[in-house]
C-alpha cells in the first residue's frame, strides 16, 4: 500500500518535468492500467478469460465520440453516457455468455466484440467506418488532462480493489476455485459472475472514454480482437493473481515497446521473444517474482 501511494505521489510530478512526450505516454499508461485492472476482475478473480473486452472499451469510446462530435452533447454527459453504454453492453454480453466456460466463453465474447467491429466498419454515417471519428474535444490541456486521468484511474482502481476484496469478490474467487462447492452453499453462480462482468465492463468503459479524449480520435482498431488481446498479454506478464500485477506489467509493456520501436523496425521480433521468456520462465508474472522473492527472504531469514 505504501508502495502504491509512493508511485501515485511520484507520478503527480511527471507533468512538472516539462517533457510533453513523457506526459502523453504516462497518460496513456494510466488509461491502459485501468483497462488491465478492469479486465482482471473477470480473469484473475473470476477465472473467466474474455477475448472481447475491446467491445466495452470501444463501446464507450465510440459512444462518447459520436454523442459529442455528431450530436453536440456536452463532454461530461458524453463521458457518462459512454460508460453507461459499456455497462449495458457488459450486462447483455454477460447474460448471453456467462453460461459458458473457458475457451467457449472466450469465443463467445470474441464473437460479440467482432460483431461490434463489423458494425463500426459498416455503419459509416455514424461511426466513420475505417476512418473513425476525429476531432473529439478533450476539454482540458494535456497537462490537466493527465491529472484528471490519474484521478479517475486511481479512484476507479480503488473501487475495483474494494470490490474484489469484498465478500462478493471472495465468493467469485471461490467460484473460480470450486464451482460446485459454492453452488451447494446456495449462491447463484451466474448472478455473481454477472456482477463481475458488470464491474469489469463498466471500468473498461471508463478507460475507453479516457482513451477517446486523449487521442481525440476513435478508430476501429480499438474494437478489433487484437485490442482485446492487449490486457490478456499484459495481465499474464504481470501475474493475474495479484491486484497490481496488471498495472505493473502495463507500465513495462508500454515502456519496453516504446523503447524497442525507437531502435528497430523489427520490434515485433524482440517483443515476441520477450513474451516467450515470460511464459517459459516467469509464469507467476512480474508480481509473482516479487512475491516469491519476498517470501524467500522471510523464510530464509537471511
Amino acid at each position: 500500500m505504501m508502495l502504491v501511494s509512493l508511485v501515485v505521489l511520484s507520478s503527480l510530478l511527471i507533468p512538472l518535468t516539462g517533457n510533453k512526450y513523457a506526459l502523453y505516454l504516462s497518460t496513456k499508461i494510466w488509461i491502459l492500467v485501468l483497462y488491465a485492472i478492469a479486465f482482471n476482475v473477470l480473469f484473475g478473480y473470476s477465472g473467466l478469460l474474455s477475448f472481447g473486452h475491446a467491445l466495452f472499451f470501444s463501446g464507450s469510446a465510440y459512444t462518447l465520440a459520436i454523442l459529442v462530435t455528431r450530436l453536440n452533447f456536452p463532454l461530461a454527459l458524453g463521458f457518462v453516457c459512454g460508460i453507461v453504454i459499456s455497462a449495458l453492453f457488459s450486462i447483455a454480453v454477460g447474460v448471453l455468455s456467462l453460461r459458458h466456460r473457458e475457451i467457449h466463453f472466450a469465443m463467445v465474447t470474441l464473437a460479440f466484440s467482432m460483431l461490434f467491429w463489423g458494425i463500426v466498419m459498416k455503419w459509416r454515417d455514424v461511426t466513420g467506418g475505417e476512418d473513425g471519428i476525429t476531432g473529439v474535444p478533450r476539454g482540458l490541456p494535456l497537462f490537466w488532462f493527465y491529472y484528471f486521468s490519474l484521478a479517475v484511474v486511481v479512484l476507479s482502481s480503488y473501487f475495483i480493489y474494494r470490490f474484489v476484496k469484498s465478500d462478493l469478490g471472495l465468493i467469485l474467487e471461490g467460484i473460480r476455485e470450486n464451482e460446485t462447492r459454492v453452488q451447494f452453499s446456495g449462491h447463484s453462480i451466474l448472478k455473481y459472475r454477472l456482477y463481475a462482468m458488470l464491474v469489469s465492463g463498466t471500468f473498461t468503459g471508463v478507460s475507453g472514454a479516457l482513451w477517446a479524449l486523449l487521442d481525440r480520435t476513435v478508430t476501429p482498431t480499438i474494437s478489433h480482437w487484437t485490442f482485446s488481446a492487449v490486457p490478456v498479454i499484459v495481465t499474464l506478464i504481470g501475474g493475474p493473481q495479484n491486484f497490481l500485477g496488471p498495472a505493473v506489467s502495463t507500465l513495462i509493456y508500454v515502456i519496453v515497446q516504446d523503447i524497442i520501436t525507437k531502435y528497430t523496425l523489427y520490434w515485433q521480433f524482440i517483443f515476441g521473444v520477450a513474451i516467450l521468456a515470460v511464459v517459459l520462465f516467469f509464469r507467476g508474472g512480474v508480481m509473482g517474482i516479487v512475491e516469491n522473492y519476498i517470501d524467500s527472504l522471510m523464510k530464509g531469514g537471511r
Binding site: Y24, T217, L251, I255, I259, L265, F281, F282, S296, G300
Partner: protein, 451 residues
C-alpha cells in the same frame, strides 16, 4: 526457500528478473529524461555561415510491418535517396539531414504516439509519410498540438484536406500526393471516353473503396448520363479467394470494371480475374474497360509483371515515365542506381517531401512553423512528378498524374504505360468549398474531342 536450495533455474529466474528490472528502470529514466533542447539561434543576417541547427531531423512514419509493410519500404527508398543526395551536396544551409523511421503498424493510435515521440523526444522538425486514411486523420488532429508540419506522402482520403484542413483549419498539414480525386474523379474521365455503359465495382471493404466508388459514380453519371452502375463487390482486406466476388459481378454482365484494389489483394484479384475471364468480359476495341487507379504501383508491376493484361487503364499518384523532364529522368535514374527498382509513387512523394523541406528552409532561413505555412501556401515547387501548386485553401498539392494503358515491353523489367492521358489537375482536384464538382462540361468536350 533456503538459499542453498536455490537451483540453476531459480538463479536464471532472478538474473532475468534483475535484467527486466534494469530495463524498466532504464526505460523510465530514458523516457522521462529531458530532451536536449536545441536552441534555434535568432536569424542573424550578417553571419552567413551560421547553421539553423546542427542536424535537421525529419520523422518518417509509414507501415513497415504486416501485409502492407512493403509500402513503408517503398517510401523509405525515396526519402533516404533525397537525404543522401542532400547530405552529399552540403546539407540544408550547412546542416545535415537525418531521417528517423518509425512503424505506424497501420494503426492510428500507434502513429499518433510515434508523432509525439518523434517531435517531443527525438526533436524532429518535420513529420512526413503516413500510408492509410484512418491513420492520417488521427495524426492530423495532433499536429497543432505538437506544432510541427506534416507532409502526407501517401494517404489519400479527401476528408483530410477537405474537412480537417479546409473546414476545420488545421494548417500544419500538407499533402503532396494526389488524393482519391485520382481514383474517383479522374478515373471517371477515363471511363467516360470508353464505350462501356454498364459499370461494376470490385473494391476493398473500407473507406478508401467507398470514397473512390462514390466519386466515380457521381462524376461519371454527370459526364455520361447514359451509363449504369450494375454491380458492386466489397472484398475484405486480405482476401485469398476473390472468385465469389468476381462471379457475383460477372452475373450482372458489366462492360466496365472500376477497382481500387491495391497491394497484395490486387495481385490476387488480377490473377484470379484473368482466369475467370473477367478481363475478356470487359474487352473493347482499344483494350479493356478496366480502370485500376493504383494499378501502376511498382510493387504490383514487379509482382504481376506481364500477367497484368495489356490495354488495362491504370495510374498511380505518380508514374515514373511522366512527365518527360530532365528532373524526372534524373530522379528515376538515381532511384534505379541506388535501389535497383523503379520509383514507386510514394517514393516520389517522399523524395519530394524531403526536397520541399530543404527548399522551405533555404527560402525562410527559419524553422518557424507559421513562417513555413505562410511560405508554403500557394507555393509552386518543381518535383519529379512535375510542377506542384500547393493550394492555399486545403493545402493540397495540385499536379497532374496521367492514366495509361499497360504495355508489355521486353526492354523493361516491368510493364510500361502507353497512350498516356492527363487532364489539367485543377480540373479534377475538387475546388473549395468542395460541395460542388468543378464545371466539367467544357473540359469534357475537350477531352472527348481528343479521343
Amino acid at each position: 526457500m533456503p538459499p542453498e536450495e536455490m537451483g540453476r533455474r531459480d538463479f536464471l529466474k532472478y538474473t532475468a528478473a534483475l535484467g527486466v528490472g534494469l530495463v524498466i528502470g532504464g526505460g523510465i529514466g530514458y523516457t522521462l529524461r529531458k530532451p536536449e533542447v536545441q536552441v534555434v539561434p535568432e536569424k542573424k543576417p550578417v553571419v552567413e555561415e551560421e547553421k539553423l541547427k546542427e542536424t535537421i531531423k525529419i520523422g518518417h512514419i509509414a507501415i513497415f510491418s504486416g501485409p502492407f509493410g512493403t509500402y513503408g519500404e517503398l517510401q523509405k527508398r525515396g526519402s533516404q535517396l533525397a537525404m543522401e543526395e542532400i547530405n552529399a551536396s552540403g546539407g540544408i544551409l550547412g546542416s545535415k539531414v537525418e531521417i528517423v523511421y518509425r512503424d505506424s503498424a497501420a494503426k492510428s493510435a500507434e502513429a499518433v504516439k510515434q508523432v509525439r515521440s518523434l517531435v517531443e523526444n527525438e526533436g524532429c522538425d518535420f513529420i512526413i509519410g503516413i500510408d492509410s486514411s484512418g491513420v492520417v486523420l488521427g495524426v492530423a488532429e495532433v499536429m497543432p498540438e505538437v506544432n510541427k508540419l506534416l507532409f502526407v506522402t501517401h494517404a489519400a482520403t479527401h476528408r483530410l484536406t477537405e474537412e480537417l484542413v479546409y473546414k476545420k483549419g488545421i494548417k500544419e498539414v500538407f499533402r503532396l500526393a494526389v488524393p482519391v480525386y485520382q481514383d474517383g474523379i479522374m478515373a471517371a474521365f477515363i471511363a467516360a471516353q470508353l464505350p462501356a455503359t454498364k459499370w461494376a465495382a470490385v473494391h476493398p471493404d473500407y473507406e478508401y473503396g467507398y470514397a473512390s466508388w462514390e466519386l466515380f459514380q457521381k462524376t461519371l453519371s454527370k459526364l455520361r448520363p447514359d451509363v449504369e452502375f450494375v454491380a458492386e463487390a466489397w472484398a475484405k482486406i486480405g482476401t485469398t479467394d476473390f472468385s465469389p466476388y468476381i462471379s457475383s459481378i460477372m452475373e450482372k454482365k458489366p462492360e466496365g470494371i472500376h477497382t481500387v484494389e491495391w497491394g497484395v489483394d490486387l495481385f490476387t484479384f488480377v490473377r484470379q480475374a484473368k482466369q475467370m475471364g473477367l478481363f475478356d468480359a470487359v474487352k473493347y476495341e482499344g483494350g479493356y474497360a478496366w480502370i485500376n487507379p493504383m494499378g501502376y504501383s511498382i510493387d504490383a508491376m514487379e509482382a504481376l509483371k506481364n500477367e497484368y493484361p495489356e490495354g488495362c487503364w491504370v495510374s498511380g499518384r505518380y508514374v515514373w515515365m511522366y512527365p518527360d523532364t530532365a528532373l524526372n529522368r534524373k530522379f528515376v535514374k538515381a532511384h534505379l542506381d541506388r535501389w535497383g527498382h523503379y520509383p514507386a509513387y510514394s517514393g516520389e512523394t517522399s523524395y519530394t517531401a524531403v526536397y520541399l523541406i530543404k527548399r522551405l528552409i533555404e527560402l525562410t532561413h527559419s524553422l518557424d512553423v507559421d513562417t513555413h505555412i505562410k511560405t508554403l501556401e500557394n507555393m509552386v515547387i518543381y518535383s519529379p512528378a512535375g510542377a506542384r501548386l500547393i493550394r492555399k485553401e486545403d493545402h493540397q498539392a495540385i499536379y497532374e498524374v496521367p492514366y495509361g494503358q499497360i504495355k508489355h515491353d521486353p526492354n523493361y523489367p516491368i510493364p510500361v504505360l502507353e497512350n498516356l492521358k492527363a487532364v489539367p489537375a485543377q480540373e479534377y482536384y475538387r475546388h473549395p468549398p468542395f460541395e460542388e464538382m468543378p464545371p466539367f462540361t467544357e473540359l469534357y468536350k475537350k477531352v472527348m474531342s481528343k479521343a
